[in-house]
Amino acid sequence: MRISRTATLAVAALSTLTLAACSSGPEAPDASSAAPSASAAPTGTVTVVTHDSFYVDDALLASFEEETGLTVELVAPGDAGALVNQLVLTKDAPLGDVVYGIDNTFATRATEAGVLAAYSPAAPAAADAASYAAPGAEDLLTAIDFSDVCLNYDLAAFPDGAPAFADLTLPEYAGMVSVTNPATSSPGLAFMLATIAATDEDGWLSWWEAMRENDVRVTASWSDTYYTDFSAPNYGGDFPIVLSYASSPPFEVVDGEPTTAAMLDTCFRQVEYAGVLEGAENPAAAELVVEWMLSDEFQAALPESMYVYPVSSSVEVPADWAEYAPLADTPTTLDPARIDAMRDEWIDAWTATVLD
């Protein structure tokens, strides 16, 4: 229990001074942490609000803390879907200084509600990040990583190659596909958006209607679909086609042989952003965190730590990713503003078509 915030800050500040005295100091001209806009080096504690899938290697975090003299506190009050809503509801007394994990399916809700403060990072990878930016919110959200949400299939069930997205409504695929509900699962929402982007605005519901006829299975969460339903040798469920990510197959390599693959014509590109929170107590430190997340060290660790692809083009992805987790050539995506305007309506229409 922190008895008082000021006391903690004072202690943190003291330790910063000590650290600064015996290390190269926080002002060291290091590409990964020096923010030209910060007039004086920030001190104290910086609180990073994130989702419960966030993971950062201890050593990586420790070296950031040592370099900057900051103390990083992590709070993760729920899953990725809930994160934006919690930030909106706590806008008047923000949960922290900087957020990581807002994705393009919820980005506009966060920016419209004014929970983010403008900040444009200076790290070299910022140029790469810009190509993933949310239109209209380029100065509020910095892209950090991305992933492709795709159907995965059991290689043993389809020896002749990947089934095609357009064929899934055919009778021979009846009872083979398991997906997650877009109202309760973030990959489910992304996949629903993929079907909207892939077909025209009216066509998607008839696709889902045909899938319903074809006994598509709907579950509440990714782990139900993947761990319980997937027929891949590691799990032994009843469904050879399940909703997951393009990055999942490397984890299903058995004895050097892949057992699953992604259907690359069904992918929705999900981008995760970081941003400084409006009303942050330590905005300068928050900016340093955004810079750090674009640094080569942080970007290179992303595939192993969070199973996502780095936005930076100057870091390599692990060898098995290059081999077993190719990205979609032409992933679908939608304008975040349009997603935000239509999301609730689409989910209701989906529920009425597939479940009710």
Partner: protein
């Protein structure tokens, strides 16, 4: 204890303990969510229009259907838990045999297992290729009811079994001597004496079932929608605080209804339990009766647990202990910042602190509720509320209220919120288990002690404390188990760098790979084993304490 005017002041002074605790960590947060949803800024309109819209939410067919589904699922779950739990409570509280203690401990295990893992185990059982696949129950409401019974049968066994044990055999024996049949003696002497405990456990189970979340979503394949799942979706997906607040108020009405029915049913005063009946070995045909009473429950408990263990042993190309060995080292593929054993230590420490909090507040509250009065009724309802109100509302409320310094204490992001949230959840059960025992104490004992010159404290120590020791020991162990398994509220306040077993399991299950899934199931088995060990320990303590009385 009919409180004299002088002791009224003492009553209110003591009532400050539960009121302050629940007020800060439950009522204020929950009320904040309701307020913002119904009349606050988030409404964007004046209070009048807000209420009209609230009514529209309530009257919508979607809401009414969710209410109806919740009511029948909870009723079916409660009925099932009583049908299985009462015979088991009889067998376990009246008889002892080699291994009966282990059975008593095992029966409590399901209650604390993380729902996500058990739901996965049940799904595997009901899947087309699963052991029970032939029943065609996959994604059906029946599957949900079975899982609800699996979780809650232990509540009935604990609460009713505790009261049954404290029941002096005298009256039932007298009836038998007077020529009553076994059944007649049971219906006319035992059953009325047990009625308060049965009603109490039924109310608890009903409330638990009505707020069940992960089970309903997972096993119902999101087709079955209850008040709780609707609240979750309104808050986390649609950001509609108004709808969530209206639904939360419906939950409060459910709590009121459950308490009202329960208090009507328990009007008969429990027999004064002074002596604890000794358990004995079953003789002759009793053996068959005991076996028949326990078998359905044990079968229902064994199947999913066996499925869980099977999954924890599954490795590439067969079975092995690899996932258990993996619990000792930091995960190779980084899903957790610490090895699972460290998360287990976090869980134990957190649960100990939560139990200490719940015990202090719970004992004081049970004492205050021992004598029935209007104010006791109000306090009892307040204490029960956390059982029936959505963890989403409480968790969100904690975020909204405690994310700034309160009276100079800043709990934001503090690790202390975890045991506090768990204690709030454990408290109602603690109180529920203690109150029937406290009420069963013959007031004449206290009067006798007072007549003999004992001070009020000495009376409490010599009479109440002594007689409450056995049920208190049992409910403390229960509170500990609940804290170990709590997830719904914990997830809002848990810290990513200090995972507990339940949050670690949920994180492991959010990553692909057989090793992550296997570790999640192995961690669940570890959680079950730890809980069973604590329960077994409490059974031992109980027996030694029982011998003293």
């Amino acid at each position: 204890m009919t409180p004299a005017p002088a002791s009224a002041r003492l009553w209110w002074a003591l009532a400050g303990v539960p009121l302050l605790f629940l007020g800060t960590f439950f009522l204020w947060p929950a009320a904040t969510v309701l307020w913002r949803g119904l009349v606050g800024d988030d409404a964007g309109v004046g209070p009048g229009a807000g209420l009209a819209e609230a009514w529209a939410v309530l009257a919508s067919s979607r809401t009414l259907r969710a209410i109806a589904t919740t009511a029948w699922l909870a009723l079916a779950g409660t009925a099932g838990s009583l049908v299985l739990g009462l015979p088991a409570a009889w067998a376990l509280s009246r008889f002892s045999w080699r291994g009966s203690r282990t059975v008593r401990a095992l029966v409590t295990v399901p209650f604390v297992l993380p729902t996500i893992v058990v739901a996965a185990a049940f799904s595997a059982l009901f899947a087309a290729s699963g052991i029970l696949g032939g029943l065609g129950l996959d994604q059906s409401p029946v599957a949900i009811v079975l899982a609800l019974v699996f979780f809650n049968v232990s509540v009935v066994v604990r609460i009713v079994g505790g009261a049954w044990e404290a029941l002096p055999p005298g009256r039932s024996l007298a009836a038998r001597t007077l020529g009553a049949s076994r059944w007649r003696a049971f219906v006319h002497t035992t059953l009325p004496a047990l009625r308060p405990a049965i009603a109490s456990s039924a109310a608890v189970v009903f409330l638990f079932c009505s707020t069940s979340f992960a089970l309903v979503l997972t096993l119902g394949g999101t087709r079955v929608r209850t008040i709780e799942t609707e609240i979750w979706i309104q808050v986390n997906q649609f950001l509609d605080l108004r709808a969530a607040a209206v639904l939360a108020l419906v939950q409060v009405a459910f709590v009121g209804l459950a308490l009202w029915v329960s208090s009507r049913a328990s009007h008969a005063r429990a027999a004064a339990g002074v002596a604890t009946a000794r358990r004995r070995g079953p003789r002759g045909r009793e053996r068959w009766a005991v076996a028949a009473a326990l078998l359905p429950t044990l079968a229902l408990l064994a199947l999913p647990i066996a499925a869980l263990v099977e999954r924890s042993l599954r490795v590439v190309g067969g079975y092995g202990l690899d996932h258990y060995r993996a619990l000792l080292v930091p995960p190779a593929r980084t899903a957790l910042p610490v090895p699972v054993w460290e998360a287990a230590v976090n869980s134990l420490v957190t649960a100990l602190i939560a139990t200490a909090m719940a015990t202090v507040v719970g004992l004081v509250t049970a004492q205050l509720l021992a004598a029935r009065s209007r104010r006791a009724g109000v306090l009892e309802s307040l204490v029960m509320l956390p059982l029936g109100v959505s963890a989403v509302v409480v968790g969100l409320g904690l975020l909204l209220t405690l994310n700034r310094a309160v009276l100079g204490v800043d709990l934001r992001g503090s690790w202390w919120l975890v045991p506090i949230a768990q204690a709030v959840v454990a408290l109602p059960l603690m109180v529920r288990a203690l109150v029937p025992a406290a009420r069963a104490i013959d007031p004449r004992l206290r009067a006798a002690a007072a007549t003999l010159g004992a001070s009020p404290w000495r009376t409490w120590w010599q009479v109440d404390a002594r007689l409450l020791r056995a049920p208190a020991g049992a409910s403390i162990a229960f509170a500990f188990a609940i804290s170990m398994g709590e997830f719904g509220a914990t997830v809002f306040v848990a810290r990513p760098d200090r995972p507990t077993l339940t949050t670690a399991i949920s994180r492991l299950l959010s990553r692909p790979g057989l090793d992550n899934a296997g570790m999640a199931f192995a961690a669940a088995v570890l959680l079950a084993a730890l809980t069973a060990a604590v329960m077994l320990l409490s059974e031992r303590l109980r027996t030694t304490v029982g011998a003293e009385l």
